[in-house]
């Protein structure tokens, strides 16, 4: 089947999509956007978090067909014309990046958190990001990055 969707502001089409394919697979393998990562394939780790019509979702749990005529925004689409999104910049400044595999999903999740709650408390942050696993950082610098972005 063919899937028509908007990705990072551009109208895109994916052809020969198997009905069982995930949005994650379409993004990574058919549309050349490997930013969202596949680390568990069943919605446990958050590494594939993208926006679907403005709501963060695990792209591995969205069937490709569900994205028809919808708006998807991935980590690749976060930077604006002036450069990195403040969340991305905060991840750099706070040293919140290690192996980087969880980073794209976390950046999207933090972007969403700050859109909903511009001044989150420490427990707010830790609870909001509890669905995004990171095995390297111990979360300390990620929490620092959220606070930095919130103050930006």
């Amino acid at each position: 089947m063919r899937v028509n969707l908007t990705v990072n502001g551009e109208a895109r089409q994916a052809d020969d999509v198997w009905p069982g394919e995930s949005l994650l697979y379409v993004l990574r393998e058919r549309l050349g956007l490997p930013g969202a990562k596949n680390a568990c394939e069943q919605g446990e780790c958050g590494s594939c978090t993208v926006y679907l019509d403005g709501t963060p979702v695990c792209a591995c749990l969205v069937a490709a067909g569900q994205a028809e005529h919808r708006d998807v925004r991935t980590v690749e689409g976060l930077p604006g014309p002036d450069g990195l999104d403040p969340v991305q910049q905060a991840f750099l400044s706070a040293g919140a990046v290690q192996c980087g595999f969880c980073t794209p999903g976390l950046v999207v999740a933090v972007h969403d958190l700050l859109a909903r709650n511009p001044t989150p408390s420490d427990p707010d942050i830790r609870e909001a990001l509890a669905g995004n696993l990171c095995r390297c950082t111990g979360y300390e610098n990620i929490v620092a990055a959220v606070k930095l972005a919130a103050g930006a």
Partner: protein, 728 residues
């Protein structure tokens, strides 16, 4: 105090100032500063390519089929229905797979025989035009297995337990000094306790994955590995290729923690599959498949016996460790080795025994040996302190050895006492004068429904170094290219090696380009054993210094138009180092609380103070310490791989069932380090920091839980089951 200043130089580098001039060598300007992570921009924008992110035209996809019995043989594989599936290009199994040349690791002899040695072993691979077609094809492969009775449970009384010749890292399996039984008999206070640690899985965020293709007889591989030199050498051996015909690229690796410390079945299978279908193949194992295929930390059962005189001096230390291996190869976790040097005692005995079960082969996992071993030893020290009514910090300090207590060789540097003292003061265990202000009584501090307590444990990890090569090149426009086949698995290796190079070249960091993660650069050691910075950094330093010398000597200080290049190899320097006991040390303090209503265990606070030589980059170092401590906390409270004894299957085989700490589980973690100068290590004076953070954490948590509740947990992880019904 020797060369160590009392005051840690940097505890909050992310918010504080860059480190002050701790580096005395005037030429060293970059080392010691919080140089930003080089590849972080690529990672926050999603542009950093991992093993299966590289765009490869015409790629096919592979999907593995795994055994469903723990022991037996593959009788037959029917591929006809799979091959009829739309998009399926081929199916590999032992009946049609190409023969591989043995390189000594039976785990890598994939699809070479009908034998099944563990449940989840790869018995077939389907290659198709999409991963979904490959997966559908894998479902249609009919594997007829003849299963036999299997033996999958580690027991302390297992009749097949034996003492190996060596344990991991080449240590002898047994060490004995004096007479432990006599020492225990003479002791005024004794502990004799048995501790259990579970199987654990690394759960690096990037599952093991490979892209492989053959090009004019050469094999090119993108592999998520900690060791692309070892992977390339192994592939050359397995496929009988000249070494220069194999190239393994690991530019970005999504974590490893030991699970990617050597070649795994995925890289071999991807290469076989690519040869079968004559096009590039991507093979990404799923999270669930990893639990059998990619290794795990062995469960351990450890008996620790301690005996002390009335003054708290240890008279005897006994540590007997039991672990498991597979039927394929012998892997012996070196759990009791740390007890050979942590504390002084005249009578000592450490032993290791292992049993081969019908299970996957265990592998290294962050601080192999020291991590499970420290849970046992550091819990037992706490039990001794309770039994003798001694302060646990003081007890450790009182048993500080002057030299390595078993080998009688000097420590290159050792500041465990200072770590304990510094940590105790920062944590509020002692006051500014060093007087203990912690109330030692267990189960007396209440905060509403919660019982609150504090605990301490010591940490250690060897400071290893392994030969490596590096290349340094100067161009006429005053730029420098430095190449070393390091693997940056998230540690910051790329960033710190550039800092080291800049200082060795005596130029600002902006003049230096660094390239890592490609076996074509030349041989270099694994990102493991906390030895990356020491090993690669030594080769980089040597290459850069030689380059400077050559520019001065041969070119009068001016780089000629064609540039100058130097390659360095550190084999001889490392071989000729004098004998020292080289280890990093640390102390970890924990405050934990346990709900009297639910039995829930929470950690409020963790503090680690470490003495690990020179710290090259305070930002990346702090992350490494915190990350290690967090994994230790996760192991203390959450992580346990449960093997079903009937099937030999890890039933906790995904991230829904195998719990790792999430942000909401982790408290604020504080880290500090001492300014340790050690001239006996390497030109940079670094000890390695990737693993020590996880060592001792679980004991610090368990000791805090005991202080909170009076309940001694000797079986990880600490959970509701050990609390409920025992709280008052």
């Amino acid at each position: 105090m020797t060369s160590t200043q009392r005051q840690p130089t940097q505890s909050q580098p992310a918010q504080g100032q860059p480190t002050q001039s701790r580096v005395q060598d005037a030429a060293q300007r970059s080392v010691g500063t919080a140089s930003p992570r080089i590849e972080a921009w690529d990672k926050v924008t999603g542009r950093a390519p991992y093993a299966v992110d590289h765009p490869v035209p015409g790629a096919a996809y592979a999907w593995v089929v795994q055994s469903t019995v723990a022991r037996g043989v593959v009788v037959d594989v029917d591929t006809s229905r799979a091959l009829a599936e739309d998009g399926v290009l081929g199916v590999l199994w032992h009946g049609n797979a190409q023969r591989l040349e043995s390189v000594g690791d039976p785990e890598l002899m994939v699809l070479q025989s009908a034998r099944i040695a563990y449940r989840g072993q790869v018995v077939a691979v389907v290659v198709a035009t999409s991963p979904e077609a490959a997966r559908a094809g894998a479902d249609l492969v009919r594997v007829r297995e003849d299963g036999m009775t299997s033996d999958t449970v580690l027991r302390i009384d297992h009749p097949a337990l034996y003492q190996p010749v060596q344990v991991n890292a080449g240590y002898p399996a047994r060490s004995a000094i004096g007479d432990v039984d006599a020492g225990l008999a003479a002791a005024a206070v004794r502990v004799d306790a048995t501790y259990r640690t579970p199987a654990e899985h690394h759960c690096a965020m990037e599952p093991h994955a490979t892209t492989a293709f053959w090009e004019r007889g050469c094999l090119v591989v993108f592999d998520g590995t900690q060791a692309s030199t070892a992977v390339s050498e192994t592939l050359a051996g397995l496929f009988e290729l000249p070494p220069q015909s194999v190239r393994v690229i690991n530019e970005h690796v999504g974590g490893g923690f030991g699970s990617k410390g050597g070649p795994k079945p995925n890289v071999v299978l991807a290469a076989m599959a690519a040869r079968l279908v004559g096009r590039p193949v991507k093979l990404a194992l799923t999270r669930q498949q990893l639990f059998a295929v990619a290794g795990y930390r062995t469960p351990t059962i450890q008996r620790v016996r301690l005996g002390a005189a009335t003054n708290g001096r240890l008279l005897a230390i006994g540590h007997d460790a039991v672990s498991q291996t597979s039927q394929l190869s012998e892997f012996v976790e070196q759990s009791a080795v740390l007890s050979r040097h942590m504390y002084a005692a005249p009578n000592r005995l450490t032993t290791h025994r292992v049993v081969a079960l019908d299970v996957p082969t265990p592998v290294w996992m962050r601080a192999p040996g020291e991590c499970p071993g420290s849970f046992a030893l550091e819990s037992a020290i706490d039990e001794l302190a309770s039994a003798g009514n001694w302060d646990p910090v003081r007890l450790r300090i009182d048993n500080e050895p002057a030299v390595h207590p078993e080998e009688q060789i000097p420590f290159s540097s050792r500041h465990l006492v200072q770590c304990l003292q510094e940590g105790a003061e920062r944590f509020g265990w002692t006051d500014a004068s060093g007087r203990v202000v912690r109330d030692p009584r267990p189960a007396v501090r209440r905060d509403g429904e919660w019982l609150v307590g504090t605990g301490v444990a010591a940490s250690t990890y060897p400071s290893l170094t392994w030969p490596s090569t590096a290349l340094a090149r100067a161009t006429a426009d005053q730029r420098f290219d430095v190449e070393v086949n390091a693997a940056d698995i998230g540690t910051g290796a790329r960033t710190v090696l550039r800092q080291i190079a800049a200082d060795a070249l005596d130029v600002p960091i902006a003049y230096v380009e660094i390239t890592v993660g490609d076996s074509a650069i030349g041989p270099a050691t694994v990102a493991g054993g906390s030895m990356g910075t020491a090993s690669w950094g030594w080769a980089v330093t040597k290459a850069c210094r030689l380059l400077r010398e050559r520019i001065e000597r041969d070119h009068g200080g001016r780089v000629p138009t064609g540039g100058v290049a130097v390659r360095a190899d550190t084999t001889l320097e490392i071989r000729d180092r004098p004998e020292f006991s080289r280890h990093a040390y640390g102390a970890q303090f924990c405050q934990a609380r346990v709900s009297t209503m639910t039995g829930e265990v929470r950690v409020d606070r963790l503090l680690g103070v470490f003495a690990a030589g020179r710290i090259v980059n305070p930002t990346t170092a702090r992350s490494q310490f915190i990350g290690g401590m967090t994994m230790g906390l996760s192991g203390a409270l959450l992580e346990r791989s449960v093997l079903d004894s009937r099937t030999g299957d890890f039933v906790t085989g995904d991230l829904a069932a195998y719990h790792v700490a999430v942000s909401a589980d982790v408290p604020r973690i504080e880290v500090a380090w001492l300014d340790e100068q050690d001239p006996h290590l390497n030109p940079m004076g670094v000890k390695g920091i990737g693993e020590i953070g996880i060592v001792g954490t679980a004991a610090a948590v368990a000791n805090a839980v005991h202080h909170a509740t009076g309940i001694r947990v000797r079986d990880l992880p600490i959970g509701l089951a050990q609390m409920i019904g025992k709280l008052h």
